[in-house]
Amino acid sequence: MNSKITRREVLQFVGGSALGVLLSPLPWKVLDDTAIWTQNWPWTPKPKRGDIAYRTTTCTLCQSSCGMRARTIGAQPVSLAGTQHHPFNQGALCTSGLLAHHLRYHPSRVKQALKFSVQAKSHSTLSADDAFRELSAVLKNSSSVVIVDERAGRTVSALYAELAASARTVSYAPVSARGISSLNRLAGNASLQAGYDVDNAKCILSFGAPLFDGWGTPSLAARFFDKRGTQKLIQIEPVRSRTAEMASKWIVSRPGTDLAAALSFAHVLLEERLVSASALKSITDIDELALFLGAFTPEVVSKQTGIPPATLRETARAIASQTPSVCVTSHAAGDDVQDAVMLLNILTGAVGTQGGITLRAEIPGMRSAAASAKQSVQIDDLPDHSVNVFILDESLSGSSIPDTLLQDKLVSGGQGVIISLSPFVTPRPFALQYIIPSTVMFETLGDTTGPFDAARSGLALSSALLPAPDGTLDALQFVQKCAETLSVSLSSTGSSEEILKKRIGALHASKRGQVFMTSTGETTDVKQLATADDLWNALVEGGCWIDEAVGVNARALSFRVMPSIKHTRQTQTTDSNTLLVYPIVESSAYSGKTVSPLMSKVSQESGLRLSAQDAYLNPVTAAAHQIEHGSTVALRTKNGTMNVRAKLDARTMPDVIFVSCTAQSCGNQSAIASSAQDVRLLCEVSSGGSYTPTPVTIQKVYL
C-alpha cells in the first residue's frame, strides 16, 4: 500500500462515500429486495398453476366405494370432496379418503419389484420380469397356494376364483365384509351375499363397532342423527368411544367379554321364548344349542362382563321387541364373536328382513359366485403350517389380516412365501416376500362393490385421472400375469378396460337395477339406458349402479350353528384389579392402511387420534402409577415390551390400558426407514383371530 496515503485520508474518503451511498438508491433497494427474497425463498414450494377442472370418480380405499369429486390442476387432483347426493355416501368422505390424492406420492411407495429375505434383514429390487420369472418357479414348486382377496365381488375376484379353479394347487380365499362371513359359515353356504340395512333398523346393538367412526360409510353418523329419536343404538364397550358417546345407550363391559355377552343375550332370547317359530325352525341343531347356551345365564355372564344381569336381560328383550333390529361387531372382533353375534341376528329373525341383514342377489355379469365359492376356502379353516404361498391383493387398501394369522398358516421355518401386490412397502419379517408394485387410486380403471352397510348391493368404477407409473400393475393385469406363470388361460383377458367393459355390458344386458349419474345428479333405471356405453360412461364419470331390492328368500336358509359356536373358548374371568392392555378400534377408516403424511394433523399434531405410539389411561390408573399425561411408559406383557406415550382419558375404563388397533404408517419418511411399532402385538390373539385383553405391567420411563 502506498505509504503516502495516511489513515486519516482514507477516513475522509470513506466518510464521503458513506454519505454518498446513503443518498443513493443502493441501500434502500437492497433492503427492499432482501425482504422480498424472504417472501419467495426458493425452498418454499410454489403451487403449480394451470387449468382448473372438476372430475368425479369413486374412492377405492375401502368397500364403502364413496363417490368423490376431485378438483384438478391439469390432470392432477389437488383436493377431494364427496359427490353430492351420491347413493353410497351422500356426499361424505372419511379422513383418509380426503387425502387419497397424496398416496400416489407417498414416501413408502414401491416403484420397483422388491424381494424381502426372511426377517426382512435385507431387501433387493428387481425388474417385474425377473420377479415373475422367480415367481413362476416358486408357484410351480409349491403344493398349496392361497390367493387372498379382501375385496371380493370385484371383476378381478371372479378371475382369481377362476384361476384357483383351473390350477390344482391354488385355492381362493375371499374375505367378505366382517360379520357377513359368519353368515356364510353358519349357513354353510359360501356364496351368500348380504348387507346390513342399518338405515331401516329400529334398534341397533353394537358390540364395540365404531359405527360413527369408519365402520360403514362416512355418512352413517349423519344418517343416524337425521333419524334422531326414531332409531335406537345400544353400544356395548369398555370405553365411552365417539360412537358410545353419541349412542342412545352405552353399556359398560369389561374388555374382551363381547362373546360372553352375546351368548347370554342368546340365552335370554331362548329362555324367555323371544324367538320366532320360523327362526327356531331355521336352526337345525336348535336343541343342542339350547343345551349349550344353558350355561350362559345373565347371572354368570354378569360376573365376566361387569354388566348387571338386569341390563343383559333388558338388552336381549330390546333386540327381540324393537324389530327390525340388527346386531353388529367391530372389524377387529374375532370369528367366535362374529359368529355369536350373527346367531343373535338369526334368533331375532333379522336375517333376510328389511332393517336387518338383507340378502343380496348376485351382481350380474360375474362368473357365478356359487361357482367361485366351490374353490373358495376360509383362511381360518386352513390347517396351520399348510400353506406354501400366500398371494395377497393389497392393491386397493392394504391388508387387514393379522400377520400372526398368516404366520400360523404358512409352512414353518420361514419357508413360506408371500407374494403381495401392493403400492407400498409392507414388510412381513416371517416369510420370504415379493412385493409387486401396484397402481394406487387415480392411476387405474377398476371396479368396486357397494358398501356393506346398505340394503342393496352396488357397483362403481374408479377412473384413471393420472398415468400409472412404469412397472406398476393393477389387479386385473396382475391376475393375468399370475395365470401366465401358472400357464392357465382365463375366460376374459386383455386390457383392464376391455375386461371391465365386458362386465358392464352384461350388467346392462340384465336390465336390472338403477344407475346414479353425476352429470345430472339423478338416478334412473338401467332399462332407460339405450346402450351399454351409456351405462359405462355414467359409471366412469363417477356414478354408481344399485341393485333392485330383490334378495334371496331367507326362508330357504337353514343354519347349523353348533359346529362354529361350540368350540368357542370360554372367556376367562380376569379379576378386575389386574392391569390389562387391550386394543381398541380408534377409527377403522384407515385401519392398517398406509395414509397420507398429512394425517399427522389428527394424530401427531393435535392428539385427536390415538397414534401407534400412544396409549389411553384412565387418570385414576395413571395416578396410581405416578404417570402424568404425555409421559413415556413401558408396557411389558409376555409378548414383549414397548414404549408408548400415556394419554390420560377419563372415558376409558380404569385398570385397562387401551392401545390403537389401527396403527397406520403416516409420516414423512419411508416405511423401510421407520418400521413403526405395532402396539397390538403386545396382546395375545384368540383362536378366533381377535386380540384379547392381556395382563400387563406399566412403568414410567425417564428419558
Partner: protein, 256 residues
Amino acid sequence: METTQKSPRYGMVIDVDRCTGCGNCMVACAVENNVPPAQAKVTERTGMTWMRVSKLDNGLPFPENRSVYLPVSCQQCDHHTPCQSVCPQNAVEYDIESGIVAQIPVRCFGCRYCMTACPYHARYYNWFDPEWADGIERTLNPDVSARMRGVVEKCNFCHGRLQAARAKAAADGRKTESESDYTTACAECCPTQAIRFGNLADPKSEVSILSKSPSAFRLLEDLGTEPKVYFRSEQEWVHTIVKKTSSSELKEHSNG
C-alpha cells in the same frame, strides 16, 4: 342470488352434538390452505392446525365422564379483535368487506405478539420450513400461497375460495360474490354437516338464524371479542362447562 346491500359478515355455526371428532375438517383445511405435514420433531404444541378439534369434557370420572368435540379455528373476532390491534406492522387486518380477520404472512416478521394476544390459541407459527414428501407438492392448491418459516398464519375462512367467488361474480358482471359460490373447506367436508358457514349479516341466512337460537354459544363471550364462530349444543352440561373458564376450573393435565 345477490347478498343483502350491506357488506357480508361471514361466520360459522358448529353443532357440537353432531361432531363425531373425525378430524375431516382438520385435514380438509390443511389440503385447501397448503399447510404442510408435521416433521419428526413436531408435537401437539408446535403443530400447524388452522382448524383444531379439541375435546371438552365434564370433568367427571369414568363412567360418568361425558365429552364433546369442539372444532376450533380462528374465531374471527368482530370487535376489539385482540390480534389485529397488537400487530406492529399491519400484517393482521379486519376485512371490512367480509368480516374476516385477515392474516397476511408475507407482511408478518414473526414477533408472535398476536399469538400472545389470541385467547383462542388459533394462531400458529411456522417453527419449521414447510416440507412436503417428494411429489406431494404437486397437489398444492394454486389459490393459496405456501408460507415460509418464521411467520404466523391462521384460518382466513378459505380466502382463496372467497377470491374465486369474487372473480366469478366479476365475470358474471355482479358486484358482490354470491354466497352459494363460497363455503369453507371444513364446512364442505364435514360428514355430518355439523359445520354451517354463511353470512351473519343476512338475517334470513341459515347461520344467522342458528346463531340466535338459545342453544347457541360462543367461546369466552365475556371478553367481548364478539367471535363470528358460534357453537350449538342441546346438552345442558356443555353450556355450564363452557361458561366456566379453565382458570376457575383447576386442570393440571389435559384429557387426551
